[in-house]
Point group: C3
Chain length 339, copies 3
């Protein structure tokens, strides 16, 4: 429990109201009850039915309420307080006697490893990293400090992972890329996948997401890349810093994605293309070629600028009416010709 | 082995034929052999080439055959007899000494837990529930009675699961939702995901499907919800009773789906929308807004009523012919103008 | 290390240059350094900036370079040499004492099984097959010789797998198909899934891919079928020899795919349809009906011949201009009529 003054300092806010007001938790604006704090990103909201004891608002907000904290980024303050009032507990403590750590593996100070997890030969696990139950770390893998690796994650041989990386359950890092050629008689022959995966610092990988190892060289996620669940990253793909990909999106082999690129869910990118920094790709887009203009918003399949796409879609929804107008024109022309 | 009279009673049917006819199994109409029973949902079929010894048909059927059983729902009778002739065996017996059950966990009567599976602190597993090998049940999870949880399932902390729930291999329940904000300089910051997942009774979750925990509050599947494989359920989603979602479908955060909603495969729903009861969504639809009319059928992306969508699609397939008609009109107009 | 003559023999090539030139590795044309060999599939390339010591080219190539090896299929030669210079090591050796092998299971000569993996009752594992850590092989499964099964794979009861099959991490083979009927009052009832999965020789299954067991009879992958990651194969599907499906593609129940069929990523196929031999299906296509013409290329949703689809797409991207032309025609007609 904290008083409002303490909370205000915690989020670098400016307090207007009772500094001694006691706060026991944080909740959404609709569900927050007495003694809880809540937040709004809007400049003005009607607080008539608000049950919360305090409200975080953006600086310059005109909302009227007894206890207000003004901050630059209310959503950021929410993130801070949500963790503060509901701290993540470590589920495991130290290295389970039921884990299987190879004699040649190096495990840093404070590392936790759950039961039925394996750390392969010559693998390295950095300080304070937490590896839950049933995780398989293959030989030669390097995992940084302060990582959190949930159950059933598989990290294939040689993969390199930075610090502060979170990997949700079931993700597979470093499986073979999908590469085949054919003999002269048509029999498929596997192209061996001998490259690697390198994941930067502060990345997050979603549940059951797959990041394939490169054929040669590396598949790369730069720092702070965020991948949602069931995402597919093909071999030799590069993803720039701060980019975020939503669920069920797939990136084909050798495609290069810039920094700060945002993709909605179920997007697909062709292979061997390049996406410029800051591009936003709407959900369900299919991107068939490179996008070289930074900060554009695109949509559709084949992809277009989102405004062109929306314009086309409005026409297509009403296409039967335009067809009727063509028929009407044909009728009139015929009448005119007969005259 | 059963005689036809016994089988007829088992499926509440009305027998016309030899009550003593011996039946050893059930099969599809094309593959059923002598001494097997088969079924048809049609009112009339030609039984000229039928090898089966008996046939289940809907009441009022006009099909001619020696041994017929009339029932209300032939497909339901098929389900009953398929299980009867091929009963599911328990693969495991009791609690494996190689499972890892926390001292504070509660395990009901008749529970089976396979090798290399973990039950976390304060977790509860209801009577007769079967948990296969390599399953990770995190602390505080509550699993009801008579559930069947296949290998490699991960159930994250605090998740609540009802009775008679089946979870296929590799499913991940309660991974963190995909929530990020940014600092004023653009660095992504994780929104902690402190909510939960609640799954009702009689649900089934497909292989490698992911159901994310809520940010705050809960992601909810009501009773009898059926999810196919590789489905993505975002944080704070609600799915109403009896709804069924086919493979590779994805539901974005905070969307609410009514009861008896049916979705084909590879459907995508935007976030924060609501789908009315009884709506059917065709495979590969992309639903960008709420659907408030119950029992409608929709299709396409952006979604439309399925009849409008089909009409548009027919025109689009032939759009070049309409363009030719525009060009023809332009030519004729020019001729008329020249006169 | 090899000299060029040895390498040339290894790939059945024709050497032009220094047979004693020492080669230490293979790399891409852009990254290859001195003492490495590289390759091109093109008939002519400019070798002005090439750092490699030798170059593999197709027979008849007009490329000028000191050390050339002419072969029929440069990409195939690349595959051979990539494995040669980076041989796959066995990560495990023999059967781990921490694996759980049922007394009634049969394990061939030279089989390796990792820690925390299970082989169920009456299962059979063929000679030289390698099963990594945390794999669950259910009772009655039959796995052939020389297979490679990565961590966290689940193979459900009774599944039959041929020789030389590779299964990437997290794949689920033989989960229940998605089959439900409803009672007269609408309650969903599970159709038991009592069929099987049969996988031929030399297949590869991608990470987190799901292949469902049949309701009755079998889901079948013929020899040399290659599936990428996160693919969904519904119950009772058949896939012909040499066919390859890219990531996130989904095949609905009972659909039959011919031989040598190639699909891009995120393709969806409706249920109960048939695809002829040699058909190519572009990425993101949605195939709603059977394709009976062999070797056609199709695209779009609903699918079309790829040339028709492209033509339609070009028109649709410019549809607003055609609408303007309709409006212009209407104006002119009106003018003519007024005259």
């Amino acid at each position: 429990m904290q008083n409002l003054l303490q909370i205000s300092k915690m989020i670098n806010g400016e307090l207007k109201g009772d500094p001694n007001c006691r706060i026991t938790g944080i909740n959404s604006i609709a569900k927050a009850e007495k003694s809880q704090i809540t937040f709004s990103t809007k400049k003005f909201i009607d607080t008539g039915e608000l049950q919360a004891s305090a409200l975080i608002v953006p600086k310059g907000s005109e909302t009227k309420f007894d206890n207000l904290i003004y901050v630059d980024e209310p959503y950021l303050a929410f993130a801070t307080l949500l963790e503060h009032f509901n701290p993540t507990e470590r589920f495991i403590d130290g290295i389970s006697p039921k884990a299987c750590i190879d004699d040649t593996a190096t495990v840093g100070k404070g590392v936790c490893i759950g039961q039925f997890s394996s750390i392969g030969a010559h693998a390295e696990v950095g300080e304070q990293t937490e590896i839950h139950a049933n995780v398989t770390v293959y030989p030669g893998v390097k995992i940084g400090k302060n990582c959190l690796i949930y159950s059933n994650v598989v990290i294939r041989e040689g993969v390199i992972i930075g610090n502060n990386v979170i990997i949700q359950p079931g993700a597979v890092i470093g499986a073979d890329g999908f590469g085949f050629t054919r003999t002269s008689t048509g029999t498929p022959v596997k192209i061996p996948q001998k490259g690697n995966v390198i994941i930067g610092n502060d990345c997050e990988i979603g549940a059951n997401t797959c990041i394939d190892r490169a054929t040669i060289e590396e598949t790369v996620l730069e720092d702070y890349v965020k991948l949602d669940n069931l995402v597919q990253i093909g071999h030799n793909v590069k993803i720039g810093k701060f980019s975020a990909l939503s669920a069920q999106t797939g990136i084909s082999g050798s495609t290069e994605i810039g920094q700060n690129v945002i993709m909605g869910g179920q997007v697909g990118l062709a292979d061997h293309i390049a996406i410029a920094d800051g591009v936003m790709i709407a959900a369900r887009s299919g991107v068939t070629g490179s996008i070289s203009t930074t900060n554009t918003i695109i949509s559709g399949y084949p992809h277009q600028d989102i405004r062109s796409w929306r314009k086309s879609q409005v026409i297509i929804r009403n296409i039967d009416k335009y067809i009727d107008r063509i028929k009407e024109l044909e009728k009139k022309i015929k009448e005119l010709e007969e005259k």
